[in-house]
């Protein structure tokens, strides 16, 4: 359908539209017009992606400057899905407009998925593919080839040089798959095609990391213009992604390997001093001049990039004491040895970067400044030495990155040394966690650089938490409710078992037989009445295991077995994938199955249980994080001190977002239906933290049920939902035709006018009242004046008097 929002012509590739989709578009447009950021929560399964794309593409195409869109998603499959939607949208637009638009869109993922080189692509690990590709495509290899030396190169990469650099691939929407096929046909590398064409695209779809991880973002995303529209989809975990991208763990093993890396470097330097002194000298001179040659920063594929150095520092010359290659290697060795010594301590230590630096300086005479340049200096050295087996230097690179980060940030980071894996372990296995506590640091460059950043997800409640944690301002913060023609999902909070004993996974009671039995009977009852699939989430693998073994002893599993097949998620991805497949087959066969999974596991995040794959979801327990972790404790303290977020508020927020994610797994569309059971006493006080669309569907009477009540509710629900229901019944309520949409727009228009009129009237009224009051007061102030006299008159009189 085709309609207007204000004066923006939107082409929407479906004949009907959901009311919330329209509302979403209106708010999006508002944000783009204002050039600000927003946080939007849209119920899952209401076509968020296509809504977003159709509005933004319409916006791009109608405006002069054609602001490009950077759309970030979490997984490969989500990226591919978005590209497919975009393709359909563009096809629709072409049909409607009668011509193909000048439009290019592309997805980007790692080399592992896009490589075509017959040998390289067979490697299993992503980092090996990266490294091998680099050794075929690095700058100095090209150089050698040009000189006519015999070197291994990748023909897919080199063919790109024969093409027009700004037109490596024709217009159109290129899905990852399409890209691969095109690359195969024309013998050109899909990865580099995408990388180099990115700044020529109207829409780029890729993973969060390309924008958030400063080590990658610097390389991949720096060519985007400032007016780009940035979208983070499925962004409810964005704070964790930010934090992970800046945190490193250092172990004894990695230090050992870093030492070896340093040794390699030294050998290589010695070799080169004998054979090719000139190159080292060239590098040295460049560093003296403080030149970071264009080719260096430009090189699309350097070994590593700088993690977020402040702009002014980037322009400064490398400090004199690490300019020479051998000086720098000795410097690295000293730093590594220092870390090794620190790791020998047998008690937990947590310290801030400044105190770490002070200690470091005292014992090794390493100053802060050269430390900051560590990462950059290493990159330069690796390039000069023309190293090919780059994977050997990975641990060294980690140490260098750590050095740079620790010297750059005083606040928002913490070093935690844990000598033992657990409190009971005897053999030390020290890990030095360098953890980022402040999610705002990694995302700050994004907010600084791009004017419009849109953060959206199906479950991103409470909305105000995100601007607080990530430290940004919003133009619009909105959560949409789900318009439904009938009650298609039934959320319930079960607080008691059938025996009226409270159920909870609180630490003290979680393993009590009565609680476990009550949870068991809850599962059994729902297995009896639910058609097809049931998904059950527990807070942790550990608890899931103990539940299963206790249920086995109580005969719960045997009972469930009569009705459903039982499958379990494990930490092993492959096993879980197999279980999932079996589960789906069982659901398709009609009898159905139960899938037992973990609220923070892979299943809860990425797998959809739409239609028959999930008719009931049971959340056993509030999925709190493991609070004894020192890193979490440090983060909580940081949040409290810096952003005034209370520990308990954050923990509860974090638990509820995961719970909401789990619940959202089963409703993937408006014609989908299902029961959502929250089985824990503590959910009762956390209703407000559920996303609006779930919260609204939760009736007050359903917030404190016992198992038998919940079961009879669910039974009624399934009976009701089984009644015939036609799409026409939904029209006008949960789905609009074009006519209905126009009607809505007219109504909104009228309302707006009425509102304006009302305010106008109010204003006039107020004025009148003010006047009257004025009159009254003046009347009282001058009780002796018998008649009203204008000030002018008075003045006139006075003028006449003398």
């Amino acid at each position: 359908m085709e309609f207007f929002i204000d004066d923006l012509r939107v082409l929407f590739p479906y004949p009907r539209i959901y009311p919330e989709q329209y509302a979403y578009m209106v708010d999006l447009k508002k944000t783009l017009d204002a050039g600000g950021n927003c946080v939007l929560e849209m119920p899952s399964g209401t076509g968020k992606t296509v809504t977003l794309l159709s509005l933004i593409v319409a916006y791009q195409m109608s405006s002069q400057e054609k602001r490009p869109l950077i759309y970030c998603s979490r997984t490969m499959s989500e990226i591919e899905k978005a590209l497919v939607e975009l393709k359909a949208l563009m096809k629709f637009r072409a049909e409607r407009l009668g011509h193909e638009e000048d439009f290019r869109a592309m997805g980007l993922t790692s080399r592992k998925n896009l490589c075509l080189h017959p040998d390289v692509k067979r490697e299993k690990s992503g980092s090996v593919v990266d490294a091998r590709c680099r050794s075929l495509t690095a700058g100095f290899i090209q150089e050698k080839k040009r000189k006519g030396e015999d070197v291994d190169v990748c023909v897919y990469h080199d063919n790109l040089d024969n093409l027009e650099p700004h037109n490596l691939i024709p217009n159109g929407v290129w899905s990852l798959d399409g890209l691969l096929r095109y690359g195969q046909k024309h013998t050109q590398c899909p990865y580099f095609t995408a990388r180099r064409m990115m700044s020529q695209c109207n829409v780029v779809i890729y993973s969060y990391h390309y924008l958030l991880d400063p080590k990658i973002a610097e390389r991949v995303s720096k060519d985007f213009s400032k007016d780009c529209i940035v979208v983070f989809d499925e962004a409810h975990n964005i704070d964790n992604v930010c934090i992970e991208s800046l945190s490193t763990d250092i172990t004894e093993e990695s230090l050992r390997r870093a030492t070896r890396g340093a040794q390699f470097l030294e050998n290589r330097i010695n070799e080169m001093r004998d054979s090719d002194q000139q190159k080292l000298q060239d590098e040295y001179e460049k560093l003296v001049e403080g030149l970071r040659g264009d080719d260096e920063t430009r090189e699309e594929d350097s070994f590593m990039a700088n993690p977020t150095l402040p702009e002014d520092l980037l322009k400064e010359a490398v400090p004199g004491n690490i300019r020479r290659a051998e000086h720098f290697v000795a410097f690295l060795r000293r730093f590594i040895e220092y870390l090794k010594t620190r790791m020998k301590v047998r008690q937990v230590i947590s310290e801030t970067p400044p105190s770490f630096l002070a200690h470091l300086k005292e014992y090794t005479f390493i100053e802060k400044k050269p430390l900051r340049f560590c990462a950059e200096r290493l990159t330069s050295l690796v390039r000069t030495l023309e190293l090919t087996r780059i994977e050997d230097y990975q641990p060294l690179q980690e140490v260098a990155t750590f050095a740079t980060l620790v010297a750059t940030y005083e606040k928002g980071f913490l070093l935690i040394l844990e000598p033992y894996e657990s409190d009971t372990a005897e053999v030390p296995n020290p890990v030095l966690h360098f953890t980022c506590l402040d999610a705002a640091i990694a995302i700050k460059p994004v907010f600084d650089r791009f004017s419009s950043v849109i953060i959206t997800s199906g479950t991103i409640s409470p909305l105000e938490m995100y601007p607080k944690m990530l430290n940004f301002e919003t133009v619009v913060q909105e959560s949409y409710s789900m318009t439904l023609a009938r009650r298609s999902f039934l959320p319930m909070i079960v607080t008691r078992g059938s025996d009226q004993a409270t159920i909870s996974t609180g630490f003290q009671v979680r393993n009590e037989p009565s609680v476990v039995r009550n949870y068991g009977s809850l599962l059994v009852e729902f297995a009896k009445i639910t058609p097809d699939g049931i998904v059950l989430f527990t807070p942790s693998y550990l608890y899931l295991e103990s539940l299963i073994s206790m249920w086995q002893g109580m005969g719960v599993l045997d009972e469930v077995w009569k009705y459903k097949l039982i499958l379990v998620e494990t930490p092993d991805a492959q096993e879980t994938a197999l279980a999932l497949e079996t589960y789906r087959t069982a659901c398709k066969n009609g009898r159905g199955a139960v899938f037992l999974c973990v609220a923070r596991g892979k299943v809860s995040e990425g797998v959809d249980f739409d239609k028959e794959f999930g008719r009931t979801v049971i959340n056993i327990g509030v999925p709190f994080q493991y609070t004894e972790s020192r890193i979490l404790k440090a983060r909580l303290e940081f949040l409290r001190e810096t952003y005034r977020i209370r520990e308990n508020d954050f923990l509860s927020f974090d638990a509820m977002r995961h719970a909401a994610q789990c619940l959202g797994r089963v409703i993937r569309g408006k014609d989908d239906y299902g029961v959502m059971v929250l089985a824990d006493r503590r959910f009762k006080s956390k209703i407000q933290q559920l996303p609006k669309w779930i919260h609204q569907a939760l009736l007050g009477a359903d917030t404190n049920l016992s198992t038998d009540m919940a079961v009879s509710n669910a039974r009624r629900f399934f009976k009701m939902i089984a009644q015939p229901f036609r799409t026409e019944d939904q029209e006008g309520i949960s789905i609009w035709t074009l006519e209905q949409l126009k009607q809505h727009q007219r109504k909104m228009q009228e309302e707006l006018i009425r509102e304006l009129q009302a305010t106008e009237e109010k204003r006039v009224n107020q004025q009148q009242q003010a006047q009257q009051a004025q009159q009254f007061i003046s009347a009282r102030e001058r009780p002796d004046s018998d008649y009203e006299m204008d000030e002018d008159d008075e003045a006139e009189l006075m003028a006449l008097d003398p």
């Binding site: 003296v288 403080g290 400064e316 010359a317 490398v318 400090p319 004199g320 004491n321 300019r323 020479r324 051998e326 000086h327 000795a330 060795r333 000293r334 040895e337 220092y338 090794k340 010594t341 020998k344 801030t352 400044p354 105190s355 002070a358 014992y363 090794t364 005479f365 303290e637 409290r640 001190e641 005034r644 209370r646 520990e647 009242q769 009257q772 009051a773 009254f776 009347a779 009780p783």
Partner: protein, 378 residues
């Protein structure tokens, strides 16, 4: 590079075996700290074995070897090919696992004491960087250079020290001061953080206590059969709101004054969203005072027609209040007095009834009786 010593394992007099695992620069390989290279004791036999080195030659040996060999006085190093004479008091435990780094850092310590210029001492950054490199080159000569280079570097170092004595002294003092300052700042920050943490814990605890207290109070009052007045309960539930807390404390009596004092002294309480003011019982008249102002009802007023019903069962049982009759009669009699239609029309819309009444009263107070005032206004 120092001359390479060939690895040897020839037994030496005194039952001491020489070291066989030597790193390129003649020092034992790092990470071999599980066996004493001198007496071959392994860590398995002596768990607290500690290694010591002497900065003369950086050859490491276990502490019992050191005691055994050097307690009697200076001795030659037990390592094969090492002819240094070592003293007991020169031994110390190394900071680094890699002894070549240990040695390097010791040299750096010396160099650093002499070359302690800071960036501000130079005109340009480039000059400073050149200086840094010069120092680094010199250090490298001292650490890795062969004998003549070493000697030359040593001479340079001493020369520089002699030439720049005052500067060095000044910079050292400045550096010390700065170190001291940053140390103090760090300590202060840590103390502040600790204090805030304690505050937070205290706050959380008090909140918990508060909750328990409320619960107890509720139970107590239920026991006594009189539920806590609603208003009080609402106020009690509020956390962290000091003003309200004070009120409650007053209401709760003197027993909790001690609490109140403790509470007010907390620092760093978080600002919370202002909660709406507690709602009192619903007042249908919106605060309008209904006690008659122009008359007073004396008890015992009556009317013969009413009197006879006082004993009529049909009326008494129904609950009819005879005082209600008199008060209504009086109200109707006085209703409308002091209200001036004209004024009402003029002023009317914007004013609330009570204000009009107030105004009327004020006017009445000024101008004596109503009609007179009215005439004046006309």
């Amino acid at each position: 590079m120092p001359p390479q010593r060939p690895p040897t394992s020839a037994p030496r007099p005194g039952g001491v075996t020489a070291v066989s695992s030597l790193a390129p620069d003649g020092l034992p390989k790092p990470d071999s700290d599980d066996m004493c290279p001198v007496c071959k004791t392994i860590r398995y036999l002596n768990r607290d074995m500690e290694f010591l080195i002497n900065p003369e030659c950086y050859h490491s040996m276990c502490s019992s070897c050191v005691n055994r060999l050097f307690n009697e006085g200076p001795q030659q190093c037990p390592y094969a090919g090492c002819h240094r004479t070592l003293r007991r008091k020169g031994f110390r435990s190394p900071f680094f696992g890699d002894l070549s780094v240990e040695r390097e850092v010791d040299i750096r310590r010396r160099v650093n004491q002499v070359f302690n210029q800071v960036e501000d001492d130079f005109n340009t950054l480039r000059d400073y960087n050149n200086y840094l490199q010069m120092v680094e080159d010199l250090t490298f000569d001292l650490v890795h250079g062969d004998e003549p280079t070493k000697r030359k570097a040593e001479a340079q170092l001493q020369q520089w020290e002699a030439e720049h004595k005052t500067e060095i002294e000044r910079n050292r003092r400045a550096g010390k001061e700065q170190d001291e300052q940053s140390r103090r700042r760090l300590a202060a920050e840590q103390a502040a953080a600790r204090q805030r943490r304690l505050d937070a814990i205290k706050e959380a605890e008090e909140e918990k206590m508060e909750k328990i207290k409320i619960k107890e109070m509720e139970i107590d009052s239920l026991e006594r059969g009189q539920p806590l007045p609603d208003q009080q309960r609402v106020q009690l539930k509020r956390r962290g709101n000091k003003a309200v807390e004070a009120v409650t404390n007053l209401a709760a009596g003197s027993s909790s004054t001690a609490d109140a004092v403790g509470k007010l002294s907390i620092r760093g309480l978080k600002e919370k969203k202002k909660e709406p003011r507690p709602e009192g019982p619903y007042d249908p008249f919106g605060g309008l005072d209904l006690t008659p102002s122009r008359y007073k009802i004396h008890g015992g007023l009556s009317h013969p027609n009413v009197e006879k019903y006082r004993s009529d069962k049909a009326h008494v049982t129904g609950g009819y209040s005879f005082d209600e009759y008199t008060s209504r009669a009086m109200f109707e009699a006085f209703a409308g007095l002091g209200v001036f239609i004209e004024d009402e029309r003029d002023v009317g819309v914007g004013l609330v009834a009570s204000e009009v009444v107030g105004m009327g009263a004020a006017l009445a107070a000024v101008g004596g009786d109503g009609p007179g005032l009215k005439m004046e206004l006309d």
